[in-house]
């Protein structure tokens, strides 16, 4: 059971698909492997850390996620693992990843839960009117940028950016999350203050650390977001987007100013607002790319 759940963490699906119920459910895709992993886990003294290393260094895990129509036809769900895993990150990881890229991540360990950005009125709409969590009060400063596991959880109204990306409601024990793909997720990543501010701060990093030319900067951002180098076409798409936005924001400084004021943190005053706004839109694009929010 345990090694199967570890497997699920890395591959998206367990060797037994129904990780919550071995019972009379679907058979293991690789029963001998499952046995071997279980015995190995016991023999190595239940060493959880070593077990993670074992999986991530395996040839199976390090395969490419590339899928051909032929391969897909033979094994659409990749149960036989002829290719590497490819699945969307969990809710918490998507937010944490954006915070990390933006350089805003507060990596303090432990402590009380925090209340990062949340649209107004959500708690009031459903909460018990005299409860001590009737009204949402956003935290300030560093608390806004803590890892998502520290986000305060009100069960009558859980944080929307978590539940929208399939975090369970925490009302029943859930060992296997669904992975949906919805327009509300798109809106969340495009427009949520947390993600727009992260794009803004990511843009500052691009301007500060990304090198001299536009191409260098695009490359820098792309590489941080995806862990690989952009090719010519990708560079062209993003550079063109930057140039068009730069022109627009140069002609419309008010809009640039407004965009740079999204979120509590202040923009870097030495940076040119139009440039920073244009890079913010590029960063917003990078944070929304399939490749950024998908593990492959």
């Amino acid at each position: 059971m345990t090694v199967n759940r570890f497997w699920q963490q890395y591959f998206g699906t367990g060797l037994v698909k129904t990780t919550e119920d071995f019972g009379s459910q679907e058979r293991a895709s690789h029963p001998e492997l499952l046995d071997w992993l279980a015995v190995h886990f016991i023999d190595t003294g239940w060493d959880v850390k070593a077990f993670q290393k074992l999986i991530v260094m395996s040839g199976t895990y390090r395969q490419s996620s590339h899928v051909t129509p032929e391969l897909h036809k033979r094994d659409p769900a990749n149960r036989l693992l002829a290719r590497g895993p490819r699945f969307r990150l969990d809710a918490e990881m998507i937010r944490d990843n954006a915070l990390f890229l933006s350089g805003q991540m507060n990596d303090q360990i432990g402590g009380a839960s925090v209340k990062p950005y949340q649209p107004p009125g959500l708690w009031e709409a459903v909460g018990y009117t005299s409860s001590n969590t009737a009204k949402f009060q956003k935290d300030e400063g560093d608390a806004l940028y803590r890892r998502s596991m520290y986000t305060f959880w009100k069960r009558t109204s859980p944080p929307p950016s978590m539940t929208t990306f399939d975090a369970p409601s925490r009302e029943t024990c859930t060992v296997k999350r669904e992975r949906t793909n919805t327009p509300l997720q798109a809106l969340n990543l495009l427009n949520d203050i947390q993600f727009v501010e992260a794009a803004r701060k990511f843009a500052e990093r691009i301007l500060r650390e990304g090198g001299e030319t536009t191409t260098d900067k695009v490359n820098f951002g792309y590489r941080w977001a995806t862990s690989h180098v952009a090719d010519e076409q990708e560079l062209a798409i993003l550079s063109e987007l930057y140039e068009q936005n730069l022109e627009e924001f140069t002609n419309d400084p008010t809009s640039a100013e407004q965009l740079l004021n999204v979120g509590d943190s202040t923009p870097d005053p030495v940076m040119n607002p139009a440039e920073l706004a244009a890079w913010t839109m590029v960063a917003n694009t990078l944070l929304n790319m399939d490749e950024t929010i998908v593990k492959e």
Partner: protein, 488 residues
């Protein structure tokens, strides 16, 4: 459509459209040309209706549902279940032969007496069949010929949280999918611009201290979360994160989305994962929602006589009347399931005053909604439901006077009404005893009600199931009988 087939179509589409230097705009264009090419692939879908069911189990009567939910449990004794004999029994003790040792809540179980509290409101007969309706509901009374008033709805739950979770999800314990989520899962969507399950939470006028609602009431339980209800908000963005950030115009967003689509398309060509195409189409739907949702909530195109019908509240976003009008607009746009919640019905004390304000909150909106649907011919294929999670007691909680009393929770019988598609109109269904305490004839358990609702939508409630933790679950669990007497 399987992925292979889809890949072939993708290739065809690409050849057909051709490519610009960077591919910008092709995604948007293609989704306009044929949205089916971008059909979502992340969950099992069927060709027919977009849900898991390959087709309806039988011909549906109702295309869509509007469910007006009175959270807190309105008093059937003061609104619908007329018991004239009680007037003579003012302040007498509830006979043990009626209570039959039934469990009552701890809010009244400690009272020395359970004194009978007749309603202080007058009832009159209305409509062709002379249905008794309280003076609290003059507008609803005017459309009573369209209603099937059910006096014998019953449940086992006696407290709000389990009771409302029960009627919404079929289980008193949290964690199962709600009715609307089941519909989305089973039948899919009827439109491509709006969510298939929409929730509208209303403001209310009775005392501020109201029972909580919970996202789980429109949640998807263990079904994929895309089936959960989308709560439209009356302040700020109607749909969360709908608006672009300040400083980002529609055209800036469009350009960004085109670049994003080009990058994602390129990725698809490289790795062939169909989830990428699903994602591209979801971003396009998000963009369409930025237009379709504001259009939905902009009621300035409604003629004056319609607005008048819904009453003055209709001008105030978030009121029940406003939400009733939105519910009609959602129904027109083929949103399958809309649930309007209003809190404030939990009247343990000071009931006469509070119920007056609550009834004035809902009465005109309910009636207007029915009239409005009817005049558009939509009542024929729209099912409307009204009711709460349980009823209230005939005996008073707290001090009883001629003009003031309170009522405790009562699960053994309460009143709901249904109207529209496939429902008999102008009838009263079921009988309660002289105290509105026990069902005498034709009980309707909440499982029966849910089974009947599904039936009217073309679904056999025993055959819409989902396997989780080793067993097949359904909305009605292992219960539920169709109520033939309610169906036309």
């Amino acid at each position: 459509m399987d992925l292979f087939e889809e890949n072939v179509l993708q290739a065809t589409r690409r050849q057909f459209i051709g490519r610009t230097a960077t591919g910008i705009g092709t995604a948007a264009l293609a989704s306009l040309l044929n949205p089916q090419l971008f059909a979502e692939t992340s969950a099992p879908e069927s060709a027919g209706l977009g849900g898991v069911l390959p087709g309806f189990h039988h011909a549906p009567k109702a295309k869509r549902v509007i469910y007006l939910f009175m959270s807190g449990a309105p008093s059937q004794l003061d609104m619908w279940d007329y018991k004239p004999e009680l007037e003579k029994m003012f302040d007498q003790d509830l006979p043990d032969s009626v209570r039959q040792g039934q469990r009552i809540t701890t809010m009244t179980s400690g009272q020395a007496r359970l004194p009978i509290a007749p309603t202080m409101f007058k009832f009159n007969q209305h409509g062709g069949n002379g249905t008794w309706v309280s003076e609290l509901l003059p507008h609803t009374a005017s459309v009573v010929d369209d209603l099937a008033v059910i006096k014998t709805v019953n449940t086992e739950a006696i407290n709000h949280d389990p009771a409302i979770t029960y009627i919404q999800t079929g289980s008193q314990l949290p964690g199962r999918p709600s009715l609307g989520a089941w519909l989305s899962y089973g039948l899919g969507t009827m439109n491509r611009d709006l969510p298939e399950f929409v929730v509208l939470n209303s403001s209310w006028s009775a005392k501020r201290d109201a029972q909580a609602l919970y996202n789980r009431l429109w949640g998807s339980g263990w079904l994929p979360s895309k089936h959960q209800g989308v709560a439209l908000r009356s302040t700020g963005d109607p749909v969360l994160y709908l608006s672009n950030p300040q400083g980002v115009s529609g055209s800036t967003r469009r350009r960004m989305l085109d670049s994003l689509a080009a990058l994602n398309e390129k990725k698809f060509e490289e790795v062939g994962d169909p989830e990428i195409n699903a994602r591209i189409s979801q971003y396009e739907m998000a963009f369409r929602m930025q237009t379709s949702v504001p259009d939905l909530v902009d009621i300035t195109d409604e003629p004056e006589h319609i607005l008048e019908m819904y009453g003055p509240d209709v001008h105030k976003p978030g009121t029940f009347s406003y939400n009733c009008l939105l519910a009609r607009r959602l129904a027109e746009r083929n949103v399958r399931f809309t649930q309007v919640f209003i809190r404030g019905w939990d009247q343990h004390g000071n009931l006469p005053n509070d119920i007056k304000s609550q009834c004035s909150d809902v009465d005109q909106g309910c009636a207007a909604l029915l009239k409005d649907l009817k005049q558009r011919g939509m009542l024929d294929d729209t099912l409307v439901l009204w009711g709460g999670e349980f009823g209230r007691t005939v005996y008073s909680q707290g001090t009883l006077t001629k003009t003031n009393y309170g009522r405790d929770h009562h699960p053994r019988c309460y009143t709901m009404w249904m109207a529209g598609a496939g429902v008999k109109s102008g009838i009263t269904y079921g009988e309660t005893d002289d105290f509105s305490y026990n069902v005498v004839e034709n009980p309707v358990h909440i499982h029966d009600l849910n089974a009947t609702v599904l039936h009217l939508l073309g679904i056999d409630h025993e055959r819409l199931t989902y396997r989780f933790q080793g067993r097949d679950f359904r909305l009605t669990d292992i219960h539920g009988n169709l109520i033939d007497g309610l169906m036309a």
